[in-house]
């Protein structure tokens, strides 16, 4: 059973929508509360490589895409979560699963203000030391 089928079968309860707009690019959405479970399945059991995560503010809320790469076939699986609470957004951190996600989650926190619950080291990464606290530059409503 190939990777796509395994994902669809195992995460049936979590997946909200499934989209394949281009060859070798698959997007599927999950609820924010299920991201830890999804990431653990994709990383530990399927052996996909975590490439990067990207965060954006949309009118509906904060949207984060986690990109996992299947190096054997070249297919990129992107997991989309939508955090609807724009006042105090938060989501589970996936850094406890693999340390490679630590810096990108720090960057998403300092630029967008998304709180990552369970992140071991939520400190400033890119902004300078004299940047005021609580000022998240990539939010539209600053």
């Amino acid at each position: 059973m190939d990777t796509k089928e395994r994902i669809k079968e195992r995460l049936k309860a979590n997946i909200i929508s499934w989209d394949e707009p281009f060859p070798r690019r698959i997007y599927f959405s999950v609820q924010p509360k299920d991201i830890f479970d999804t990431a653990r399945f994709l990383f530990k059991e399927l052996g996909l490589r975590f490439a990067i995560a990207s965060g954006m503010e949309t009118p509906q809320g904060f949207e984060i895409l986690y990109h996992f790469s299947d190096d054997k076939t070249g297919i990129m699986y992107s997991v989309r979560v939508l955090i609807e609470d724009k006042q105090s957004p938060q989501i589970d951190a996936i850094t406890p699963l693999f340390p490679g996600a630590e810096w990108i989650e720090r960057e998403m926190w300092e630029m967008l203000g998304i709180n990552f619950v369970g992140h071991p080291n939520l400190k400033r990464l890119l902004l300078s030391e004299d940047w005021p606290e609580g000022n998240y530059p990539l939010r539209h409503t600053t």
Partner: protein
């Protein structure tokens, strides 16, 4: 004119600093030292340490983290030292002028002597800029 200042115009040791550039201007600066343009015939050399520098060649838009470090580097260069701003980002921050991170252009932070526009500037433009500065120093003092 003082012979040492005259010697300075014929033997400029350049130290290249990047304040967060996209590296295009950095590559073009290195191009100046390739056989096609060869600025070593003017006496210009790329050196490794800032204490040997006669010209600080600065690229990149000044973001907030670079500003104190750039000031420190300018203090570490022995005077007389020339500051050359290469590329639009160093001149005026170019497309980053409304960014949250780039507050001031380079010439509000350091005294700039040569402005070389372009994105990235061609090596011919850089050589023309350096020669203009050399002529200005020779005719002034």
């Amino acid at each position: 004119m003082d012979i040492r200042l005259k010697a300075l115009t014929r033997s400029i040791w350049a130290f290249h600093v990047s304040a967060g550039s996209c590296n295009n201007c950095d590559i073009e600066i290195l191009d100046c030292f390739t056989p096609r343009f060869d600025v070593e015939r003017f006496g210009i050399q790329l050196i490794g340490s800032v204490r040997h520098a006669d010209a600080l060649v600065i690229t990149g838009a000044m973001n907030r983290k670079s500003v104190p470090r750039m000031k420190k580097i300018y203090e570490q260069a022995p005077k007389p030292c020339v500051v050359v701003a290469v590329g639009q980002c160093a001149l005026s921050r170019h497309m980053f002028r409304y960014s949250y991170n780039c507050d001031e252009p380079l010439d509000k932070i350091l005294p700039v002597d040569v402005y070389i526009p372009g994105c990235p500037p061609k090596p011919e433009a850089m050589i023309a800029g350096i020669m203009k500065l050399v002529d200005k120093v020779r005719s002034h003092k």
